[in-house]
Symmetry: C2
Subunit: 427 residues, 2 copies
């Protein structure tokens, strides 16, 4: 039996779960792979002797400099000092497995360059959608496919909130409170509900699909805080459910990356993904449509992904020179240009308050018509006093044209307020 | 750029699609992997020069004996002569990729033994669920997980038929005709509708999960021909949809493998998998519940899986000694015992015709009670003349007890006919 030494930095939920999984299934892994994974050092500033036993250390350098550790697992999260630790591990000739989405999204380019220079591999399956093996699937299983779209429910917190709003008719605040009670949302839920967490995952997915490092700052982001019960209800009436999607599209070297609430048709596989589950829908030329579904967070599912990366690298260390595939796709970056969100074409859902009198729709329609935006469906909702609720679905149009038209429409004397504009997608 | 020579035997739908995919995306694969896959020989008894060009040959031995071919793709299907060809390729030191479910299900044991003896690997992703990377996922991505259940919609033909019956209220014959018109069912649909095709896939999934070779003949099999519109309607009323499932469960070394129509709760992810799509639901200890969804048949999706195996083996050939994982899990066979279907515990849906008079249900209930089978739900449907339709859902019970009870119930003077017995599952 070959032995491979591993070390862990960061013993929070994920790091602790990795240790527990190794204890529980280490002999099964050995039986399957012929390799015994031996935890030599596990570092955290907090005392974690209860979890790591005699491998515990307060000093990350004991992991980074251990001569018998071949694989360093980084599960501390955040950029600093995780980045320094990961780069040090790489310089010391160690493979790295990380669950750190922020680190890979922001500094993947530098990290992968260092890894290549030092002949080691950095794997990061757990950084996107917890237990779902989406990066491995894109990288290995669809290696013969041209991938044109990856659309994912990549944040469990917001999916839980939107599911509750949809299925139990709760408002945003109430649904958020329930998510917090269930432990699906942090005390400060900002990073989840404003789309920031999903943006990191979108950047990583975009990299694996295209080879391009997209700065998270350049990714269009819209959270779910403006979604109301009314929007969810009206969307339902016209056959849609609202989901926060990370959308990556790649066509002819042109890359779209964005995160925003989206009206997903009821018939689409993503529409049925509820509660805190994640799922990633992929469109590729040979395989067609496929979807990968599971828990996107939590200690055990995330540890499952960490361990699959560790096993891949352990096999590589035992058996190979430079085998088991490149760390991700090799695609020349310069080929890819990031499409501006203004230039993206799509359909749109609008909800607005107008005066309830003849000619209102004619006025709105004519503004759209001038911008060559055509209206697919109009539903006039309840009228209160002299104010009508108007829901409009716009046909495939360029975002800039719609924005320009809406600016004009908001100034019409018949229009009281544009309540919400949500993209319709996943067609 | 490293070159790897490949050969194909069998140029039907799948083999032809592999050639087309290689032509279309060969340079993309080379860019991603650093390996150029070169088709050296492609054999079929039918003239396929139009597809294979100068690689075409009528003689499979030109593939099997070609000194520069490292990977032989077998896409001819059936046992003979595919088995002889695969064994010859193995003896000649060539890795093998096959899409042949019947061959692997029936003769996997012999083939893997030969491969091990000759130091080559046989991969067979395309043999189960076409393009869905389920075997790779079980083998690599869930390598740290104890897998307790794999339940799959693994046959697109029957899923299409059942979906049509469910969503468009068609009868079996009508739905089958539509499936044939769409090319989703063969002129002779027996192998699909009687569950035989799903049994092969169940055997392969069971092997990957447990390491045990289960003879397809020993797998309990029930097709969909007895499912009526009435069953689908009544199932819907109590919150279920009927799917043909291949079910594999592994607990404490005890293995269950079976294929039968199943009432799947509407809330289960498999319930939403419609038309000719396949999906495999997996329950494992670290990851929890996950599902993998896509097209389970068709040239392009199947070719996608074939090519992912080819790429894995090509990387191994270029870079490694014995890397990239064992051909499947290494689990000692003797540890696994196949559970008899009579001993399996589950819930059941019954539909029967009874006389419409007081005391009928009391009589039926008392028979079940004697066998300690408890009734969860009873719905009395329309009564015509003196005959009532009774739908009963039984609580978790041993199949043998239910069968014994039903034998007695069928002899009650108040019971005219037991129309159908369907397992309730995927809880």
């Amino acid at each position: 039996m070959q032995q491979i030494g591993i070390g862990i930095i960061g013993l929070g939920t994920v790091g602790s779960s990795v240790i527990k999984l190794l204890k529980k299934n280490g002999s099964l892994i050995a039986e399957r792979t012929g390799i015994e994974l031996v935890l030599l050092k596990a570092a955290d500033l907090r005392n974690r002797k209860d979890i790591a036993g005699k491998a515990y250390t307060k000093n990350a350098n004991e992991v980074l400099n251990h001569p018998e550790i071949s694989i360093v697992i980084e599960t501390m999260g955040g950029v600093s000092p995780a980045k320094q630790f990961v780069l040090a591990a790489i310089r010391n000739g160690k493979h790295v497995v990380t669950s750190n989405k922020e680190l890979i999204a922001k500094h993947g380019k530098e990290i992968f360059k260092a890894a290549a220079a030092n002949g080691v591999t950095v794997l990061f399956e757990a950084s996107v959608c917890g237990g779902i093996p989406i990066l491995h699937t894109l990288r290995e299983c669809l290696a013969s496919n041209k991938i044109s779209e990856v659309s994912g429910i990549v944040n469990g917190t917001t999916n839980y909130i939107l599911s509750k709003m949809t299925n139990e008719d709760l408002g945003f605040e109430e649904a958020l409170k329930q998510a917090q009670q269930k432990g699906y949302a942090e005390a400060d839920p900002t990073m989840d509900v404003d789309g920031s967490d999903a943006v990191y995952k979108a950047a990583i997915l975009a990299y694996v699909v295209s080879g391009a490092h997209v700065d998270p700052k350049n990714i269009y982001k819209e959270g779910i805080t403006k979604i109301t019960k009314a929007d969810i209800e009206y969307a339902k009436e016209v056959g849609y459910v609202i989901k926060l999607l990370a959308i990556i599209k790649l066509n002819n070297g042109e890359l779209e990356v964005r995160v925003h609430p989206t009206l997903v048709p009821n018939t689409h596989p993503l529409a049925k993904v509820s509660d805190n589950y994640n799922a990633v829908f992929v469109r590729s030329d040979a395989m067609g449509e496929s979807m990968y579904y599971g828990l996107g967070a939590g200690g055990d599912p995330t540890a499952s992904s960490v361990m699959s990366d560790v096993i891949e690298l352990a096999k590589k260390t035992v058996n190979c020179g430079s085998c088991c595939g490149p760390e991700t796709y090799k695609v020349k970056e310069k080929k890819v240009t990031l499409k501006k969100v203004e230039d993206i074409k799509g359909r749109y859902y609008l909800r607005m308050e107008t005066l309830d009198k003849p000619g209102v729709l004619a006025g709105i329609s004519s503004v759209f018509a001038k911008k060559k935006v055509s209206i697919q469906e109009v539903v006039q909702k309840e009228s209160v006093g002299n104010v009508a609720q108007l829901v409009i679905i716009l046909d495939n149009s360029r975002e800039k044209d719609i924005r320009d038209a809406l600016k004009k429409i908001s100034k019409l004397s018949t229009v009281k307020k544009i309540n919400n504009v949500i993209r319709v997608g996943a067609n």
